[in-house]
Symmetry: C2
Subunit: 168 residues, 2 copies
DNA sequence: CCTTATTTGATATGTTTCATAACGATTATC
DNA sequence: GATAATCGTTATGAAACATATCAAATAAGG
Protein backbone atom coordinates (compact mmCIF):
# COMPACT_ATOMS: atom_id res chain seq x y z
CA UNK A 1 0.00 0.00 0.00
CA UNK A 2 1.70 3.20 -1.14
CA UNK A 3 -1.30 5.49 -0.52
CA UNK A 4 -1.28 7.67 2.58
CA UNK A 5 -4.11 7.48 5.04
CA UNK A 6 -6.60 10.32 4.80
CA UNK A 7 -5.57 11.56 8.23
CA UNK A 8 -2.04 12.06 6.90
CA UNK A 9 -3.13 14.60 4.32
CA UNK A 10 -2.93 18.24 5.28
CA UNK A 11 -5.85 19.93 3.51
CA UNK A 12 -4.02 23.27 3.49
CA UNK A 13 -1.23 21.91 1.36
CA UNK A 14 -1.64 21.77 -2.38
CA UNK A 15 -1.10 18.20 -3.53
CA UNK A 16 -0.06 18.35 -7.20
CA UNK A 17 -2.32 15.41 -8.16
CA UNK A 18 0.39 12.82 -8.58
CA UNK A 19 -1.04 11.25 -11.79
CA UNK A 20 -1.09 13.91 -14.49
CA UNK A 21 1.65 12.87 -16.92
CA UNK A 22 0.07 9.42 -17.25
CA UNK A 23 -0.80 8.78 -20.91
CA UNK A 24 -4.11 6.88 -20.58
CA UNK A 25 -3.26 4.82 -17.50
CA UNK A 26 -2.62 1.11 -17.66
CA UNK A 27 -5.73 -1.00 -17.17
CA UNK A 28 -6.47 -3.09 -14.10
CA UNK A 29 -6.24 -6.76 -14.94
CA UNK A 30 -8.73 -7.66 -12.23
CA UNK A 31 -7.25 -11.04 -11.43
CA UNK A 32 -6.94 -12.09 -15.06
CA UNK A 33 -3.21 -12.67 -14.66
CA UNK A 34 -3.98 -15.16 -11.91
CA UNK A 35 -6.00 -17.25 -14.33
CA UNK A 36 -3.75 -20.09 -15.40
CA UNK A 37 -5.38 -20.39 -18.80
CA UNK A 38 -4.79 -16.73 -19.59
CA UNK A 39 -1.13 -16.85 -18.58
CA UNK A 40 -0.66 -20.12 -20.43
CA UNK A 41 -1.98 -18.70 -23.65
CA UNK A 42 0.04 -15.52 -23.36
CA UNK A 43 3.25 -17.43 -22.64
CA UNK A 44 2.58 -19.93 -25.42
CA UNK A 45 2.17 -17.18 -27.99
CA UNK A 46 5.46 -15.59 -26.95
CA UNK A 47 7.30 -18.90 -27.09
CA UNK A 48 5.92 -19.82 -30.52
CA UNK A 49 6.83 -16.36 -31.77
CA UNK A 50 10.41 -16.87 -30.71
CA UNK A 51 10.44 -20.37 -32.16
CA UNK A 52 9.46 -18.98 -35.56
CA UNK A 53 12.15 -16.29 -35.34
CA UNK A 54 14.85 -18.84 -34.49
CA UNK A 55 13.64 -21.18 -37.21
CA UNK A 56 13.30 -18.52 -39.88
CA UNK A 57 16.40 -19.66 -41.81
CA UNK A 58 14.90 -23.15 -42.11
CA UNK A 59 11.30 -22.04 -42.61
CA UNK A 60 9.84 -24.57 -40.19
CA UNK A 61 6.76 -24.01 -38.06
CA UNK A 62 6.46 -25.67 -34.65
CA UNK A 63 4.03 -28.21 -36.08
CA UNK A 64 6.28 -29.03 -39.03
CA UNK A 65 9.27 -29.44 -36.73
CA UNK A 66 7.33 -31.83 -34.51
CA UNK A 67 6.38 -33.95 -37.53
CA UNK A 68 9.98 -34.25 -38.73
CA UNK A 69 11.20 -35.03 -35.22
CA UNK A 70 8.57 -37.71 -34.74
CA UNK A 71 9.27 -39.30 -38.11
CA UNK A 72 12.97 -39.45 -37.36
CA UNK A 73 12.29 -41.30 -34.10
CA UNK A 74 9.55 -43.52 -35.51
CA UNK A 75 10.47 -44.57 -39.05
CA UNK A 76 7.98 -46.62 -40.99
CA UNK A 77 4.84 -45.31 -39.29
CA UNK A 78 1.78 -44.33 -41.25
CA UNK A 79 -0.05 -41.01 -41.38
CA UNK A 80 -2.77 -41.93 -38.94
CA UNK A 81 -0.30 -42.88 -36.22
CA UNK A 82 1.89 -39.80 -36.57
CA UNK A 83 -1.06 -37.41 -36.81
CA UNK A 84 -2.78 -38.98 -33.83
CA UNK A 85 0.14 -38.70 -31.42
CA UNK A 86 0.57 -35.05 -32.41
CA UNK A 87 -3.09 -34.27 -31.93
CA UNK A 88 -3.54 -33.47 -35.61
CA UNK A 89 -6.70 -34.64 -37.35
CA UNK A 90 -6.02 -36.89 -40.31
CA UNK A 91 -7.72 -34.70 -42.92
CA UNK A 92 -5.63 -31.71 -41.85
CA UNK A 93 -2.47 -33.79 -41.86
CA UNK A 94 -2.70 -34.42 -45.60
CA UNK A 95 -1.98 -30.86 -46.69
CA UNK A 96 0.79 -30.61 -44.12
CA UNK A 97 2.51 -33.66 -45.58
CA UNK A 98 1.97 -32.34 -49.11
CA UNK A 99 4.04 -29.29 -48.20
CA UNK A 100 6.83 -31.23 -46.50
CA UNK A 101 6.92 -33.80 -49.30
CA UNK A 102 6.92 -30.96 -51.84
CA UNK A 103 10.01 -29.58 -50.12
CA UNK A 104 11.53 -33.04 -50.39
CA UNK A 105 11.87 -33.44 -46.62
CA UNK A 106 9.95 -36.72 -46.49
CA UNK A 107 8.42 -39.37 -48.72
CA UNK A 108 5.15 -41.27 -48.75
CA UNK A 109 5.53 -44.94 -49.69
CA UNK A 110 2.70 -47.41 -50.10
CA UNK A 111 3.15 -50.08 -47.47
CA UNK A 112 3.71 -53.54 -49.01
CA UNK A 113 1.93 -55.22 -46.09
CA UNK A 114 -1.12 -52.96 -46.11
CA UNK A 115 -1.58 -51.14 -49.37
CA UNK A 116 -4.02 -48.69 -47.86
CA UNK A 117 -1.47 -46.98 -45.65
CA UNK A 118 1.51 -44.81 -46.46
CA UNK A 119 4.83 -45.45 -44.77
CA UNK A 120 6.41 -42.08 -43.95
CA UNK A 121 10.17 -41.61 -44.03
CA UNK A 122 12.50 -38.66 -43.84
CA UNK A 123 14.60 -38.03 -46.92
CA UNK A 124 18.30 -37.29 -46.73
CA UNK A 125 17.44 -33.60 -46.99
CA UNK A 126 14.79 -34.02 -44.32
CA UNK A 127 17.29 -35.50 -41.90
CA UNK A 128 19.77 -32.72 -42.66
CA UNK A 129 17.20 -29.99 -42.10
CA UNK A 130 16.01 -31.65 -38.91
CA UNK A 131 19.57 -31.83 -37.57
CA UNK A 132 20.06 -28.11 -38.20
CA UNK A 133 16.65 -27.38 -36.73
CA UNK A 134 17.40 -29.30 -33.55
CA UNK A 135 20.61 -27.33 -33.12
CA UNK A 136 18.81 -24.01 -33.64
CA UNK A 137 16.09 -24.96 -31.18
CA UNK A 138 18.55 -26.06 -28.53
CA UNK A 139 21.06 -23.22 -28.83
CA UNK A 140 18.89 -20.25 -29.79
CA UNK A 141 15.37 -20.98 -28.60
CA UNK A 142 15.34 -23.27 -25.59
CA UNK A 143 18.62 -21.84 -24.36
CA UNK A 144 17.05 -18.39 -24.09
CA UNK A 145 14.20 -19.81 -22.05
CA UNK A 146 16.56 -21.63 -19.72
CA UNK A 147 18.56 -18.45 -19.33
CA UNK A 148 15.43 -16.53 -18.44
CA UNK A 149 14.05 -19.02 -15.91
CA UNK A 150 17.14 -20.84 -14.73
CA UNK A 151 17.63 -24.55 -15.44
CA UNK A 152 15.87 -25.68 -12.28
CA UNK A 153 12.76 -23.62 -12.85
CA UNK A 154 12.77 -24.54 -16.51
CA UNK A 155 12.72 -28.23 -15.58
CA UNK A 156 10.03 -27.68 -12.98
CA UNK A 157 7.93 -25.81 -15.53
CA UNK A 158 8.23 -28.65 -18.03
CA UNK A 159 7.17 -31.14 -15.39
CA UNK A 160 4.10 -29.15 -14.38
CA UNK A 161 3.00 -28.63 -17.97
CA UNK A 162 3.38 -32.35 -18.62
CA UNK A 163 1.26 -33.06 -15.57
CA UNK A 164 -1.49 -30.78 -16.84
CA UNK A 165 -1.32 -32.17 -20.36
CA UNK A 166 -1.58 -35.78 -19.22
CA UNK A 167 -3.53 -35.81 -15.96
CA UNK A 168 -5.90 -32.87 -16.19
CA UNK B 1 17.16 -47.65 -17.33
CA UNK B 2 14.85 -50.67 -17.09
CA UNK B 3 16.55 -52.68 -19.83
CA UNK B 4 18.91 -55.48 -18.81
CA UNK B 5 22.46 -55.53 -20.04
CA UNK B 6 23.15 -58.00 -22.84
CA UNK B 7 25.41 -59.98 -20.51
CA UNK B 8 22.48 -60.54 -18.17
CA UNK B 9 20.48 -62.43 -20.76
CA UNK B 10 20.74 -66.20 -20.74
CA UNK B 11 20.55 -67.22 -24.42
CA UNK B 12 19.27 -70.68 -23.49
CA UNK B 13 16.16 -69.25 -21.91
CA UNK B 14 13.23 -68.38 -24.10
CA UNK B 15 12.34 -64.76 -23.52
CA UNK B 16 8.70 -64.38 -24.53
CA UNK B 17 9.39 -61.08 -26.35
CA UNK B 18 7.86 -58.83 -23.76
CA UNK B 19 5.98 -56.59 -26.25
CA UNK B 20 3.54 -58.79 -28.18
CA UNK B 21 0.11 -57.76 -26.85
CA UNK B 22 0.96 -54.12 -27.61
CA UNK B 23 -1.55 -52.78 -30.12
CA UNK B 24 0.72 -50.70 -32.41
CA UNK B 25 3.22 -49.57 -29.81
CA UNK B 26 3.34 -46.03 -28.48
CA UNK B 27 5.55 -43.71 -30.48
CA UNK B 28 8.86 -42.30 -29.28
CA UNK B 29 8.52 -38.60 -28.63
CA UNK B 30 12.20 -37.99 -29.38
CA UNK B 31 12.62 -35.10 -26.98
CA UNK B 32 9.48 -33.33 -28.11
CA UNK B 33 8.08 -33.36 -24.57
CA UNK B 34 11.16 -31.45 -23.43
CA UNK B 35 10.34 -28.63 -25.81
CA UNK B 36 8.70 -25.94 -23.71
CA UNK B 37 6.61 -24.67 -26.58
CA UNK B 38 5.15 -28.09 -27.26
CA UNK B 39 4.25 -28.71 -23.62
CA UNK B 40 2.87 -25.19 -23.30
CA UNK B 41 0.54 -25.66 -26.23
CA UNK B 42 -0.63 -29.08 -25.06
CA UNK B 43 -1.32 -27.82 -21.54
CA UNK B 44 -3.05 -24.69 -22.81
CA UNK B 45 -5.44 -26.72 -24.96
CA UNK B 46 -6.35 -28.91 -22.01
CA UNK B 47 -6.94 -25.95 -19.73
CA UNK B 48 -9.09 -24.10 -22.26
CA UNK B 49 -11.08 -27.28 -22.82
CA UNK B 50 -11.84 -27.51 -19.13
CA UNK B 51 -12.64 -23.81 -18.98
CA UNK B 52 -15.29 -24.27 -21.67
CA UNK B 53 -16.76 -27.28 -19.85
CA UNK B 54 -17.00 -25.38 -16.56
CA UNK B 55 -18.45 -22.34 -18.30
CA UNK B 56 -20.93 -24.27 -20.39
CA UNK B 57 -23.97 -23.15 -18.34
CA UNK B 58 -23.04 -19.50 -18.98
CA UNK B 59 -21.88 -19.97 -22.58
CA UNK B 60 -18.74 -17.87 -22.16
CA UNK B 61 -15.47 -18.46 -24.00
CA UNK B 62 -12.17 -17.58 -22.34
CA UNK B 63 -11.88 -14.49 -24.51
CA UNK B 64 -15.42 -13.34 -23.70
CA UNK B 65 -14.84 -13.87 -20.01
CA UNK B 66 -11.66 -11.80 -20.15
CA UNK B 67 -13.52 -8.95 -21.84
CA UNK B 68 -16.26 -8.88 -19.20
CA UNK B 69 -13.72 -9.08 -16.40
CA UNK B 70 -11.66 -6.25 -17.84
CA UNK B 71 -14.71 -4.05 -18.38
CA UNK B 72 -15.83 -4.57 -14.82
CA UNK B 73 -12.45 -3.46 -13.53
CA UNK B 74 -12.06 -0.60 -16.01
CA UNK B 75 -15.40 1.09 -16.56
CA UNK B 76 -15.60 3.83 -19.13
CA UNK B 77 -12.78 2.62 -21.38
CA UNK B 78 -13.14 2.53 -25.13
CA UNK B 79 -12.81 -0.41 -27.52
CA UNK B 80 -9.24 0.33 -28.55
CA UNK B 81 -7.98 0.28 -24.99
CA UNK B 82 -9.75 -2.93 -23.96
CA UNK B 83 -8.84 -4.75 -27.15
CA UNK B 84 -5.23 -3.67 -26.95
CA UNK B 85 -4.60 -4.87 -23.41
CA UNK B 86 -6.13 -8.23 -24.30
CA UNK B 87 -4.04 -8.58 -27.43
CA UNK B 88 -7.13 -8.48 -29.66
CA UNK B 89 -6.97 -6.55 -32.92
CA UNK B 90 -9.56 -3.81 -33.18
CA UNK B 91 -11.27 -5.14 -36.31
CA UNK B 92 -11.77 -8.53 -34.69
CA UNK B 93 -12.99 -6.94 -31.49
CA UNK B 94 -16.02 -5.44 -33.21
CA UNK B 95 -17.80 -8.72 -33.88
CA UNK B 96 -16.94 -9.92 -30.40
CA UNK B 97 -18.63 -6.90 -28.87
CA UNK B 98 -21.60 -7.30 -31.21
CA UNK B 99 -22.20 -10.74 -29.71
CA UNK B 100 -21.84 -9.62 -26.10
CA UNK B 101 -23.97 -6.54 -26.69
CA UNK B 102 -26.53 -8.70 -28.49
CA UNK B 103 -26.73 -10.84 -25.36
CA UNK B 104 -27.26 -7.66 -23.36
CA UNK B 105 -24.10 -8.16 -21.30
CA UNK B 106 -22.62 -4.76 -22.15
CA UNK B 107 -23.48 -1.48 -23.85
CA UNK B 108 -21.65 0.79 -26.26
CA UNK B 109 -22.21 4.48 -25.50
CA UNK B 110 -20.87 7.35 -27.55
CA UNK B 111 -18.47 9.27 -25.37
CA UNK B 112 -19.60 12.87 -24.75
CA UNK B 113 -16.01 14.10 -24.60
CA UNK B 114 -14.83 12.32 -27.76
CA UNK B 115 -17.66 11.37 -30.06
CA UNK B 116 -15.50 9.00 -32.07
CA UNK B 117 -15.06 6.51 -29.27
CA UNK B 118 -17.47 4.19 -27.54
CA UNK B 119 -17.52 3.97 -23.78
CA UNK B 120 -18.02 0.34 -22.84
CA UNK B 121 -19.97 -0.60 -19.74
CA UNK B 122 -21.32 -3.83 -18.32
CA UNK B 123 -25.10 -4.03 -18.01
CA UNK B 124 -26.81 -5.30 -14.90
CA UNK B 125 -27.10 -8.68 -16.59
CA UNK B 126 -23.47 -8.51 -17.60
CA UNK B 127 -22.39 -7.96 -14.01
CA UNK B 128 -24.60 -10.80 -12.84
CA UNK B 129 -23.23 -13.22 -15.43
CA UNK B 130 -19.69 -12.17 -14.66
CA UNK B 131 -20.24 -12.77 -10.95
CA UNK B 132 -21.51 -16.28 -11.63
CA UNK B 133 -18.67 -16.85 -14.09
CA UNK B 134 -16.04 -15.81 -11.57
CA UNK B 135 -17.48 -18.25 -9.05
CA UNK B 136 -17.50 -21.08 -11.57
CA UNK B 137 -13.94 -20.36 -12.62
CA UNK B 138 -12.69 -20.23 -9.05
CA UNK B 139 -14.55 -23.23 -7.65
CA UNK B 140 -14.72 -25.59 -10.62
CA UNK B 141 -11.89 -24.68 -12.95
CA UNK B 142 -8.96 -23.14 -11.13
CA UNK B 143 -9.70 -25.23 -8.05
CA UNK B 144 -9.15 -28.40 -10.05
CA UNK B 145 -5.82 -27.11 -11.28
CA UNK B 146 -4.72 -26.19 -7.77
CA UNK B 147 -5.76 -29.61 -6.57
CA UNK B 148 -3.72 -31.24 -9.32
CA UNK B 149 -0.54 -29.22 -8.81
CA UNK B 150 -0.79 -28.14 -5.21
CA UNK B 151 -1.15 -24.47 -4.25
CA UNK B 152 2.59 -23.84 -4.09
CA UNK B 153 3.34 -25.30 -7.51
CA UNK B 154 0.29 -23.58 -8.94
CA UNK B 155 1.59 -20.23 -7.74
CA UNK B 156 5.08 -20.98 -9.01
CA UNK B 157 3.66 -21.94 -12.39
CA UNK B 158 1.73 -18.68 -12.63
CA UNK B 159 4.86 -16.72 -11.78
CA UNK B 160 6.96 -18.44 -14.43
CA UNK B 161 4.33 -18.01 -17.11
CA UNK B 162 4.08 -14.33 -16.26
CA UNK B 163 7.85 -14.05 -16.54
CA UNK B 164 7.77 -15.60 -20.00
CA UNK B 165 4.84 -13.48 -21.13
CA UNK B 166 6.44 -10.21 -20.03
CA UNK B 167 10.20 -10.67 -20.24
CA UNK B 168 10.78 -13.13 -23.06
C1' DC C 1 -9.50 29.80 -39.30
C1' DC C 2 -8.28 26.34 -42.58
C1' DT C 3 -5.71 22.68 -44.13
C1' DT C 4 -3.56 18.42 -42.89
C1' DA C 5 -2.75 14.49 -39.96
C1' DT C 6 -4.28 11.31 -36.58
C1' DT C 7 -7.55 8.51 -34.12
C1' DT C 8 -11.93 5.73 -33.48
C1' DG C 9 -15.08 2.22 -34.69
C1' DA C 10 -16.28 -0.30 -38.61
C1' DT C 11 -16.18 -3.06 -43.08
C1' DA C 12 -14.16 -5.94 -46.29
C1' DT C 13 -11.09 -9.40 -47.16
C1' DG C 14 -7.75 -12.97 -46.79
C1' DT C 15 -5.06 -16.50 -44.29
C1' DT C 16 -4.44 -20.02 -41.03
C1' DT C 17 -6.11 -23.29 -37.96
C1' DC C 18 -9.36 -26.53 -36.60
C1' DA C 19 -13.38 -29.73 -37.13
C1' DT C 20 -16.92 -32.96 -39.64
C1' DA C 21 -18.84 -35.74 -43.31
C1' DA C 22 -18.12 -38.53 -46.95
C1' DC C 23 -15.66 -41.25 -50.74
C1' DG C 24 -12.75 -45.08 -53.18
C1' DA C 25 -9.53 -48.43 -52.22
C1' DT C 26 -8.08 -51.94 -49.32
C1' DT C 27 -8.26 -55.06 -45.51
C1' DA C 28 -10.56 -57.44 -41.62
C1' DT C 29 -14.55 -59.95 -39.79
C1' DC C 30 -18.26 -63.03 -39.71
C1' DG D 1 -18.50 -64.12 -49.88
C1' DA D 2 -21.17 -60.36 -47.88
C1' DT D 3 -20.46 -56.84 -44.43
C1' DA D 4 -17.89 -53.89 -41.64
C1' DA D 5 -13.85 -51.32 -40.52
C1' DT D 6 -9.60 -48.71 -41.78
C1' DC D 7 -6.44 -45.89 -44.74
C1' DG D 8 -5.54 -41.65 -47.21
C1' DT D 9 -8.06 -38.16 -49.34
C1' DT D 10 -11.43 -34.52 -50.73
C1' DA D 11 -14.77 -31.21 -49.78
C1' DT D 12 -16.53 -28.07 -46.76
C1' DG D 13 -17.38 -25.10 -43.03
C1' DA D 14 -16.48 -22.63 -38.62
C1' DA D 15 -13.37 -20.00 -35.90
C1' DA D 16 -9.28 -17.38 -35.01
C1' DC D 17 -6.06 -14.12 -36.69
C1' DA D 18 -4.19 -10.41 -39.66
C1' DT D 19 -4.16 -6.29 -43.15
C1' DA D 20 -5.97 -2.48 -45.79
C1' DT D 21 -9.25 0.94 -46.00
C1' DC D 22 -13.24 3.95 -44.89
C1' DA D 23 -16.19 7.89 -42.83
C1' DA D 24 -16.54 10.58 -38.89
C1' DA D 25 -14.44 13.10 -35.32
C1' DT D 26 -10.65 15.25 -33.28
C1' DA D 27 -5.89 17.14 -32.98
C1' DA D 28 -2.06 19.74 -34.78
C1' DG D 29 0.29 23.19 -37.59
C1' DG D 30 0.57 27.07 -40.24
Amino acid sequence: MTVSKMSDIDPTVHVPSVEPPLESTALQMGGLSELLGYSLKRAQLKVFEDFLRCMAPLQLTPAQFSVLLLLDNNPGRNQTEIAHTLGILRPNFVAMLDVLEGRDLLTRMRSPSDRRSHVLMLTEKGRAILARAKKLVATKHEARLIELLGPTHHAALLAMLATIATEF
